[in-house]
């Protein structure tokens, strides 16, 4: 983003141009794949479960940059990797979904009744 001229609130159109920069466009394509998997996870697990769990991606990025790109990882970064791994293992030990009374259906969709009968995971 810092390679693009400064964007100001008076010219919001320049934001749209930024979206079609090849690197940003490629990033968006991959983000769509992420989003589909993320939505599926959210459909059967709590937000406060999914969000810390997806932070494991940061650890993978860090390990890839160490062993594939041979980047130097500072002590601070290793500490971050350890903390995220600990946090993810913390949350993974608990239930993925908050237990609710069976009649707590809140959606207007007809699919709701059938869907909520599924086994909790």
């Amino acid at each position: 983003m810092t390679a693009i001229p400064s964007i100001s609130l008076t010219h919001p159109g320049s934001l749209i141009v930024a979206v079609f920069t090849p690197w940003i466009a490629a990033g968006i394509a991959l983000l769509i794949g992420f989003f589909a998997s993320y939505l599926t996870a959210l459909s059967w697990a709590d937000l406060t479960f999914v969000l810390p769990a997806t932070a494991a991606g940061n650890v993978i990025v860090e390990l890839l940059s160490k062993f594939w790109l041979h980047e130097a990882i500072s002590f601070e970064r290793w500490a971050g990797v350890v903390l995220i791994t600990l946090g993810v293992s913390f949350v993974a030990q608990g239930p993925a979904l908050t237990e609710r009374p069976v009649s707590a259906a809140k959606g207007p969709l007809p699919d709701e009744a059938v869907a909520s009968e599924g086994p909790p995971r």
């Binding site: 693009i4 934001l15 810390p52 932070a55 903390l83 946090g87 913390f90 030990q93 908050t98």
Partner: protein, 139 residues
């Protein structure tokens, strides 16, 4: 500190209140988007079950016909554009760690209040550990 060695001169916010407002806007939009999206997916139901019953098309249809889902996506898009805006006016080394780590904590609070999720000690601990970890990685 500055990484602005690129073509155009950047307007870097030096006022700490402006910087905080830009980051706050990202965090607020992102948290609202996450909560609305999570609520939408809960009201739609288990996507794996829907896919088993009515196929991939049925699952996609169930998602894209949910108004709640689009309100969530709207705020997530708003968060994305405000992140681009913030990155354009602030240093990456400030925006990335601040917004990524703050969002984890605000989402834990919002999940408890608005989604009535059972945020127990385990989840608070995870949110805080991951928050510090993400901050250290992105810093």
């Amino acid at each position: 500190m500055t990484i602005s060695s690129s073509v155009a001169p950047l307007v870097i916010f030096t006022n700490p209140w402006l910087a905080a407002a830009a980051i706050g806007a990202v965090v607020l939009a992102s948290t609202t988007g996450e909560v609305l999206t999570a609520a939408a997916m809960k009201s739609i139901g288990d996507l794996d079950l829907i896919r088993a019953r009515s196929g991939l098309k049925g699952a996609i249809r169930a998602v894209v016909t949910s108004p709640l889902f689009f309100s969530g996506v709207f705020f997530l898009a708003l968060a994305f554009f405000s992140l681009l805006f913030a990155l354009n006016h602030l240093n990456l080394s400030l925006v990335a760690p601040a917004s990524a780590s703050l969002t984890l904590v605000t989402n834990a609070v919002a999940g408890k209040i608005f989604l009535k999720e059972n945020v127990d000690r385990r989840r608070w601990g995870a949110a805080i550990l991951v928050c510090i970890g993400v901050y250290l990685l992105a810093h």
